[in-house]
C-alpha cells in the first residue's frame, strides 16, 4: 500500500462507516426498505438519474443533479480550503462561516450597485468578497499575533458578530431590497445585475456555473502555493514548528497573518460563488452552515488541497442528493449528519491507525504521520 493511500485510508473508512451507520439510523427509525430507497434517491440526486436517462429520458436528468452537486462541491471546496490554509500555518479557523457571510454580502452589494461590463463586474465582485472575508479573518489574525488571543475563541465570536450584524441588521435594514411592484415580500438584499452573474456553463441544462471551475482552480492554486513557492514552504514550516521556523529566519508573524487572511479570502469567495452563482442576492440567511462544513471537509481531506477537493466532491454529491430524500420523509439535512459523523470518526484518526497497524503489522512503517492539526 502506497504512502498516499495509507494517508487517505482513515478518511475513506470514516466516510464509509458514517454512511453505513446513517443507513442503519433510517432503517431503525423507519424501515429497511425506506432506508435503501432514501439512499438511492440521494445517490441518483447527486450523480444524475442514470436509470431515467438510459430509459430514454432527457439529458437534463443527468446534468441537473450533477450541476447541483458541482455547485455544492464548489462551496465546500472553498470553505474547506479556508480551514485547510489556516491549518497549514498552525491555526484553527472556526470562522469560515463569518468570513463567508461577509464575502457574500460584499459580493451582493458590489453585484447590485456597480454598473460595469461583465468582464470587470465579476472580478470586482469576487475581489470585494475575498477582501471582505480576508478583513474579517484579519481581525482574528491581528488579535492572535498582537495579543496572543486564541483564534478558536476569536473566530467563534467573529462568526456571531457577523451573523448578528449582517443577518439581523444590514440585510433586514439598510441593505434590504426595495420592494418593486408585486414583489412586496422579498427577503435579502437587492438582486445583483446580470453582468455580475457567474455565467452558466451548460446553459439551461443545469445550474452549473463558473463557480465550480473557479473553486477547482483555487484548490490547485493553493496546492501549488504550498508545495512549490517559498512563501508556501515557509507557511508550512511555521505550522509545523514556529520556533524552528523563527530560528531559520522565517517571518513567523507575517506568514501567520498572510495565511489567515488568505483563509478568510477563500471563505469570502465561497460567499461570492453562492451569491453570484446561484442565489442572485444575499438571501435572508446563508441557508446552511457551509463554514462549519468546511471544517469537516478540510479534515476528511487530510488538510490537503486536492484531498479536500475529493472530499468536497463526494459530499457535494450527497448534499445535492439530500434534497431528494425529503420525498421519503427524511430531512434534507441528513447528509450533514453523515458528514458530521465522518468528521467525528476522522477525529479518531489514531484509532484507525491503531486498528490498521494491527492488521498489517509487518509492512507498516513506524509512527504513521498524524494529521497536521494545531494544538489549541
Amino acid at each position: 500500500m502506497g504512502e498516499r493511500a495509507r494517508q487517505a485510508l482513515p478518511s475513506v473508512l470514516s466516510v464509509l462507516l458514517a454512511l453505513v451507520l446513517c443507513w442503519i439510523a433510517i432503517a431503525m427509525t423507519r424501515d429497511v426498505d425506506t432506508a435503501t430507497r432514501a439512499y438511492l434517491q440521494m445517490f441518483w440526486g447527486g450523480v444524475g438519474n442514470w436509470p431515467a436517462f438510459l430509459d430514454g429520458g432527457p439529458v437534463s436528468a443527468l446534468t441537473r443533479p450533477l450541476g447541483e452537486a458541482a455547485m455544492k462541491a464548489a462551496l465546500l471546496t472553498l470553505t474547506g480550503l479556508s480551514v485547510a490554509v489556516a491549518f497549514k500555518v498552525g491555526l484553527f479557523n472556526i470562522g469560515a462561516q463569518g468570513q463567508m457571510i461577509l464575502g457574500a454580502l460584499a459580493a451582493a452589494v458590489v453585484g447590485a450597485q456597480l454598473n460595469v461590463p461583465a468582464v470587470l463586474h465579476i472580478p470586482a465582485a469576487l475581489a470585494a468578497a475575498a477582501l471582505a472575508g480576508g478583513t474579517w479573518s484579519g481581525i482574528a489574525a491581528a488579535l492572535r499575533i498582537r495579543r496572543g488571543v486564541h483564534e478558536v475563541i476569536s473566530t467563534i465570536m467573529l462568526n456571531w458578530v457577523a451573523v448578528s450584524l449582517v443577518d439581523n441588521w444590514l440585510v433586514i435594514g439598510p441593505l434590504k431590497a426595495v420592494a418593486q411592484g408585486q414583489q412586496s415580500s422579498i427577503t435579502g438584499t437587492a438582486e445583483i445585475l446580470s453582468s455580475a452573474q457567474l455565467p452558466r456553463l451548460l446553459g439551461d441544462l443545469s445550474r452549473l456555473n463558473l463557480g465550480f471551475p473557479l473553486a477547482l482552480a483555487a484548490a490547485v492554486g493553493v496546492d501549488l502555493w504550498l508545495k512549490r513557492l517559498r512563501v508556501g514552504f515557509e507557511t508550512r514550516a511555521v505550522g509545523l514548528g514556529p520556533e524552528a521556523a523563527r530560528t531559520a529566519g522565517v517571518p513567523v508573524a507575517w506568514r501567520t497573518g498572510q495565511a489567515m487572511v488568505l483563509a478568510g479570502a477563500m471563505a469570502g469567495l465561497a460567499g461570492a460563488v453562492l451569491v453570484l452563482g446561484t442565489e442572485g442576492r444575499y438571501p435572508g440567511t446563508l441557508g446552511a452552515p457551509y463554514g462549519f462544513d468546511g471544517i469537516a471537509i478540510a479534515l476528511i481531506g487530510n488538510n490537503n488541497p486536492l484531498g479536500l477537493t475529493v472530499a468536497a466532491l463526494v459530499f457535494g454529491v450527497l448534499r445535492a442528493g439530500g434534497t431528494r430524500m425529503q420525498l421519503l420523509g427524511v430531512h434534507k439535512s441528513f447528509p450533514e449528519l453523515i458528514q458530521g459523523l465522518a468528521l467525528l470518526f476522522v477525529a479518531g484518526r489514531l484509532i484507525w491507525l491503531a486498528v490498521l497497524r494491527r492488521r498489517t503489522r509487518p509492512s507498516v512503517a513506524p509512527a504513521a504521520p498524524v494529521v497536521e492539526v494545531p494544538r489549541a
Partner: protein, 309 residues
Amino acid sequence: MLEVLHSLLFSTLDAAPALVFAALGAVLSERAGVVDVGVEGMMRAGAFCAAVAALAMPTPLAVVVGMGAGAGMAAIHGWLCIRWRSDQVVSGMALNLVALAGGTFLLESLFGPNGTPPITQLSRWDIPGLASVPVLGALSGHAAPTYLALLVPFVFQGLLTRTPLGLRLRAVGDKPHAVATLGLSVPALRWGAVVGGGLLAGLGGAVLSTAVLDRFEQHTPAGLGFMALAAMVFGRWTPVGAFLAALFFAFGNALRIGLASSAPHLMDLVPQGVLLALPYLMTLVLLGLQGQRSSAPAALGVPFEQESR
C-alpha cells in the same frame, strides 16, 4: 419604573440558567485542560432527550435524562481526546455538527414535521412573602433550575479554590505533568471534568426545553452554547466570573427583547443586530485589551502524554 425593572429581572432570571449551566460546564472542562467547543452540541442533546423523555416520565426525571445525554456526548469527546489524544477542537466541532443534524433527523423521523408535542413544564416555585416585595419579588416564581443556577456557581468556586480536588483539577489544566508526578491520574481527573462539564451542559439544554419552552424547538439551542463560551472567556475561566458574565448577557438579552416590544422606535436608533452582536463584540474587545495568556489554563488543548516532557 420599578415594574419595568421587576419584569426585566424576572425574564433575566428565567432565561439565564441555561446559559449559566453551560458556561459552568465549559469552565469545568477547560480548567482541566480540555477545550469545550462542543458545548453547543451537548446542550442540544440534553434539550432533545429531556423533551422526549418528558413525554413518558415526570419532567424532573426527564431533566436528569437530559443531563445524561449531555454527559454521553461528553464521554465521546473524552474518549477521543483523552484516550486517543485527538484534537479537542475537531472533536468538539464534530459533536456540534452531529448534534445539529442528528437532532433534526431524529425530530423529523420520530415526530414528523410538527416537532415534539408540548410537555408539562417544570413547576414554578412561589416564595411566600417575597412575591409582593418590589423588585426583589422577581426572585419568586421561577422553576428550580433558576435557584440552582444562583447557588451552584458559588459552590463550584469554593470547590475549585478551597478543596484538594479543586487544586488537582486546576493543576491538571495548568501543569498535568506535575499532577502525574504526584502519582495522580491525569486521565481520570480529565475524564471527571469532561463528563461533569457534559452533565452541566446537558442540564443547560434540558432547562431550555422543560422550563423556558415546553418542547424541543428545532433550532435549540441556537448558538447559546457559543455564548456560554463567551461568558466563560469573559469570566476569565472562573465559575463565579462566568456566572456573572452569563447573567449580564442574559440581562442584555432581556433588555433587548423588552425594548423591542415596548419602545420600537428606539430600535431604529440602535438596531437589534447591533445589540445581538454586543456580547461577542465585548468579549473580543476584552480579549484584545488584556490578552488571553493571563487567564486561560496553561495546558488548555494539549493532549496529555506521559512520555512527553
